[in-house]
């Protein structure tokens, strides 16, 4: 645990700061709307739901601002590159950008729920006080628009007892954009579930572009100015502390209090999201520009079990181990970009990917190269984008476990270790690396190409771990996995079991990479 904290302190700090920011913004806004005098009359109708709605709205603005930033992968790579002198602990958070994006998305979902529930109560309260005949302060406030309609100083958006909340919701900008934005959010979330994303990537990719509607609707949402506060001028004529008791006498000769006047807020969301939108537009332009750069395919290899290896070159391309690129093939699909881990080592003069047939796009891709048409289909490349594989080189002993196509990041690492070894790179601490590869093809073995499998069945992890522990009794062993969650569970258990209680003896550290 201590070791994990040392490596990940910046991530923890960022998380704590982000959560703290959300909590602070929520509480600050909540107290403003709950305590402030200019909302006294508004609160008279709406109660505490007003504060909940506004506080969650501010947090939604903040999180909507944050959510676009982690997906600006080119800009993050640029940041990573310029910080190359920083220790890799400082650069680590940049590699967890997608995790942060998901966390912010979950937070948006939670605040959306609070916001909607609060506003449902608000609408209901407005409707009730408009229909109320009991002469209460709330009903008096609700009738305020009638003489002052020209002055636009109403409080209750529901102007007549016959207007339903449904009508107001769908005829106000806020209501309409609200329903649209939430529908779009739900569609984005359901198509981004891990199960859908992993198996039907294209569906996720296209549906997620609905975020454009989300951003537009968010910018327009506050245009109606439905949330109203008492004006400064009105507070001097009718201060709630003095005048709220005598509401029946407002505007009459007996009382100094005039009718209160209200005004709505100008929309504020656009101020929050303008900068990230600009950043993101710049990012897309950058991706487009980079994708137009020429990619030369130097070698195409068809491996058994329908795996295609492509070796390519691109001017100015430089990579690190375990990074990935996005590939687009206009002849298959103009708009789709698919991610692949780089299987070549940085020391080589080309970069390569191994592509497995896993869906429409990959099958068409492999077929396009199988047919050996000349000229070869043009491809576009965006990247490389970073992951955390450099950790491998920090361990004296590294155990790399890859399942199926999950062997690809480790191919890159192993090749790099070999090159570093060849060139006697002093930064390489690794003295020994063992690789366990699974393959699921029934006919041939992916590593050796022979009909005889490299391993028969699953390795007995207990045996493997105890063998490593016996062979390296005093070493720190890093265990790296790129594969399914169930395998991660068993490996993590073995790491705990075989790590010695004595910190000087063998220690196993488990790292699960999400490529």
């Amino acid at each position: 645990m201590g070791n994990w904290l040392v490596n990940h302190w910046l991530l923890v700090l960022i998380l704590v700061v982000w959560l703290g920011l959300n909590v602070f913004l929520f509480i600050y806004t909540f107290l403003t709307y709950e305590m402030s005098d200019k909302y006294y009359y508004t609160r008279e109708i709406l109660g505490t739901a007003l504060a909940f709605a506004r506080a969650s709205a501010l947090c939604l603005n903040c999180n909507s601002m944050l959510i676009l930033i982690p997906v600006c992968r080119n800009l993050l790579s640029f940041l990573r590159g310029t910080c190359s002198f920083c220790s890799h602990t400082l650069r680590k958070p940049l590699d967890h950008n997608l995790t942060f994006h998901k966390l912010v998305a979950y937070m948006i979902c939670i605040f959306t729920a609070i916001h909607i529930i609060a506003h449902l109560f608000n609408f209901e309260h407005y409707s009730r006080s408009q229909q109320a005949m009991d002469g209460s302060l709330a009903s008096v406030l609700s009738t305020l628009s009638h003489p002052e309609k020209a002055g636009n100083s109403w409080l209750n958006p529901i102007q007549s007892p016959n207007t339903t909340v449904m009508y107001v919701a769908f005829t106000s900008i806020a209501g309409l954009t609200g329903v649209l934005i939430t529908t779009v959010l739900i569609l984005m979330v359901t198509s981004a579930m891990e199960f859908i994303r992993r198996n039907y990537f294209e569906l996720f990719w296209y549906t997620h572009h609905l975020f454009i509607i989300y951003i537009i609707c968010l910018g327009l949402h506050g245009l109606g100015g439905i949330v109203r506060a008492q004006t400064e001028e009105s507070m001097s004529e009718n201060h709630p502390h003095n005048c709220s008791e005598s509401y029946q006498k407002w505007g009459t000769h007996e009382s100094k209090c005039k009718h209160p006047h209200f005004e709505g807020h100008p929309p504020a969301s656009w101020k929050w999201i303008l900068a990230p939108i600009a950043l993101y537009i710049f990012e897309r332009i950058l991706r487009f520009y980079r994708s137009k750069q020429k990619v030369v395919i130097t070698k195409v290899v068809m491996h058994p079990s329908k795996v295609l290896e492509l070796q390519m070159r691109k001017r100015g391309f430089s990579m690190e181990v375990g990074q990935y690129i996005f590939v687009n093939c206009p002849s298959i699909s103009l708009l789709e970009w698919h991610p692949f881990t780089l299987t070549s080592a940085p020391e080589e003069d080309f970069f390569s990917i191994h592509v497995r047939a896993a869906g429409d796009w990959t099958e068409n891709f492999i077929r396009a190269f199988e047919q050996q048409h000349s000229p070869m289909p043009r491809i576009e490349v965006d990247g490389p984008f970073g992951t955390v594989s450099e950790d491998v080189f920090q361990y004296e002993v590294a155990v790399l476990v890859g399942a199926g196509i999950g062997v690809t990041p480790f191919a890159s690492i192993l090749k790099s270790i070999w090159y570093k070894f060849q060139r006697a790179d002093h930064k390489l601490k690794t003295q020994k690396a063992g690789h366990a590869a699974f393959n699921f093809d029934k006919a041939t073995d992916i590593l050796t190409g022979l009909k005889q499998k490299t391993f028969f069945g699953r390795p007995m992890w207990d045996n493997e771990f105890s063998a490593v522990a016996t062979a390296h009794p005093k070493s720190v062993v890093g265990v790296f996995l790129c594969g399914p969650q169930t395998l991660a569970k068993s490996l993590r258990k073995c790491c705990h079991r075989y790590s010695s209680l004595d910190p000087r003896k063998v220690q196993f550290y488990f790292n699960k990479e999400n490529f």
Binding site: A113, I116, I117, L120, F121, F123, E124, S127, T164, V165, M166, A169, V179, T182, T183, I186, L187, V189, T190, S191, M193, F195, I196, N199, Y200, E202, L203, G359, D360, E363, F456, G457, R458, M460, N463
Partner: protein
Amino acid sequence: MGQIEWAMWANEQALASGLILITGGIVATAGRFVQWYFGAYSIAAGVFICLLEYPRGKRRKGSTMERCGQKYMTAVVKLFGPLTRNYYIRAVLHLLLSVPAGFLLATILGTVCLVIASAIYLLAAIRGEQWTPIEQKPKERPQVGGTIKQPPTNPPPRPPAEVRKKPSEGEEAGAAAGGPQINPIPVTDEVV
């Protein structure tokens, strides 16, 4: 997009709609909103939809991740046979279920999402998809013999180790005792 199983996404969307219906329904009922009985309906419909959609169907190709504890609902959903297997029926069912919830603002979001789910199910049905239950695999026996890569080819009684080991290099050619033991008289185990 030819290989996308739309039913999988429709399932996620319908499950989300169910949860939203329940939430909206609770808000409307607890707050005693106008026409709150639509909210009560919404809760019931939401629960029903969640139960129906919780068990994920099997993918046509590849392995399917089960939802936690779905096997109990799978057994129930399976009982209805073609009613739950056919996605046309599900599309119509969701469309009908969504209508009453559309009368209340608190639950209209659930209606919209459920209508979308219904549309995706319709698309799935047109493309010939079906709900197939994920069957339980028989429990794997504990891998006691997992490390035994070359199990003995002779049944007991086996000759002593030295006699067995000597011709073990040529084991591919045949067992040491020249093939499996054939008992001249049937042998029964007489355990009391």
